[in-house]
Amino acid sequence: MDLEYGPQYDDFRAEVINFIKENENIKLSGPPRSESRVEWQQKLIDNGYFARSIPKEYGGYGGDMDIIKLRIIAEEFAKSPIPKPAGGQGIQMLVPTLLSLGTEEQKQEYIRPTLRGEILWCQGYSEPNSGSDLASLQTKAELDGDEWVINGQKIWTSTAHLSQMCFILVRTEPDAPKHQGISYLLMPMDAEGIDRRPIKQMTGDSDFNELFLTDVRIPAGNIVGARGEGWKVANATLGHERGSLADPNVTQNRLNSLIDLMKNETIDGQRVIDKPIFRDRLLSIQGRLMAQHSNALRILSSQINKEQDATLAKFIVKLQGTELRHELEGLAIDAMGELGTLYEDSPHLRDNGVWQMTYMYYLGLIIGGGTNQIQKNIISERALGMPKEPKIQGA
């Protein structure tokens, strides 16, 4: 057991701290893709604080894949108000996919501008009738000369209104078994025939969209992997999404805010944190979070020490993390009582309504990214070796 990163990383940490100190006061303005944002993103790449292990020829920093250095960067950036590197589904999901499965042309064309924040991507996976059973998707694409022609409907497409490109799953081999009939295409969002309708969600925001696709034509070369291999291509990236939804370090920040809130709010003049039942709930949540934090250390260690196995530890992160976060935000609402129901711009509103907002948002994340019931199927089948539910004839 050794939780130290080692003295050989002291210089690197000092470098990161120094960079942060010099750039701490940078304020980014303007919408995504604006010049100052792209410039900042490029500066982070040039210094190796973003896209660190992505090859230089594709617009990355071209550094070594040193997990501890990545960790140090994340730790130091988290402590500071410095603008963080841009994220999004293009960077988290598409870039790793192209790096492992894209053609040389696709890597050259898309990775650099995606890293720089010049191209934003959305994900065209779910359909109204294909949610948990994603592989049953029906949006189809047919080859007509040197173009794919896409028809169908997608739903839960985040940031579609901001995106220039969409990585989309479509059925190209209608006669093949369902998992083998899917292809992974790259669709420009300015193509003709794309109709986008925002979905207003329970929080009041519209983070998602429906996409109606009618005879959308895109070049035949905009396919990643071979025809019919889209399911495999997509699964290579879903793993990248799941772990990122429930980082215990972020939850720790929320717990600290919750403790402050419970010290400040009073009932009949008594601090909420001094009421034993509220305090016990707070401490229960803290205990669960500490367990998840230890679990995260084990996962980190397994990335550094390849011989260590943390399969089950990784599978449970999304399930455990989203449930805990939802409960944490809910405790804050209970601690405020009637005040906890205030929303939007109401008088007496606390913290801009962020507790209610996040409480609901995390209910969305319990459902999104593979519902937590699907997560339990994955845990029981892939980690515990239990059988799949048999198919029902005729269903």
Binding site: M1, D2, L3, E4, Y5, G6, I68, I259, K263, I273, D274, P276, R279, D280, L282, L283, S284, Q286, G287, R288, M290, A291, Q292, H293, S294, N295, L297, R298, L300, S301, I304, N305, Q308, L312, A313, I316, L319, Q320, Q373, Q375, K376, N377, I379, S380, E381, A383, L384, G385, M386, P387, K388, E389, P390
Partner: protein, 362 residues
Amino acid sequence: MYFGLSEEQKSLEENINRFLADNAPLDTIKAVAEGDTDKAREVHRGIIDLGLSGLVVPEEYGGLELNMLFATVVSAALGSGTAPVPYVGSYVMAPLAINLAGEENQKNQWLPKIAGGECVIGVGLSEYVGAREDAGIEFVNGKLSGRCLFIVDGKDADAYLLANKSGELYIVDSSNSGIEVIELTTVDKTRTSIELILKDVDAELLPGSTDKSVIEKVLDAGRLMLAADTVGAAQVMLNKSVAYSLERKQFGRLIGSFQAVKHMCAEMAADLEPCHSMIWHAAHCLDNVPEESRLMACQTKAHISEVGKQVSKTATEVHGGMGFTDELGLHYWFKRIGLNRQLLGSPELIREEAGRIQGFDQ
């Protein structure tokens, strides 16, 4: 950076598992639970031969001088086998307390004997943690009087290590006059528990224990060991559940192919898997990070008690009617987890303490 067990720790774990599989199978556990003290002594002798009695005793007193992480590994292994042996009190808390707070002659008197497997020391801290029935002891002119409940590893012990309400620790030779031993019967028959009634019994203060940090360290260690015991036991209950679900058929299918059963197992796994990391992490803090060790030990005991309760319930349900029978014996693990939960403080009591440690009262 390496977070996990070393090869040495893993091999210690394997040795204990193998020893228990060979020497304390379910039939032995049942016999011990029904009062076969010879069998219990044999298993006890076996773990002494494995070196467990001297695990945390310093080398100069004949022990192995291993750290809390090693002790945690051992405790989890004993929990997984519902081993009918003294450990948490006699071989972890007692030597730790004597080494931390004893005078040289006290250390010389007890530590080599503990390490050599020649004496068992029962540990009674319940009146410091939270006195029930107004129990408690008083020390006047070198003599102890009063009552202690739930002495861990106290049955047939050669000595007792007892705390008063302010956390001072006293050591009492069990052959001294004025001691009445009352055997308590808990649900967990794999371990023993006693009550002591003392009337003017010769006793010695461990002088260092007037500093409260001593009993806090002893409690932290004891709580961590109980948590580890629960993790070991709960993991076995989960493993048995999955295995049973892949044997048992109903409606023409393995019950492990029903989502209702799969989800119960997945929930147990999701709750339990982080607990392995948590006990390692807490042990690391006790060994190396004193400023975090108190909170970590409290929260580890409290959280794992909750997980253990849930897993032991769910695992019993997965086994259906068989889970409820004596024949299958799953209840030994259920009851072991149940006793661990209450010893040295129930989760609610420990969370109160965790709140105070963090300064929530300020």
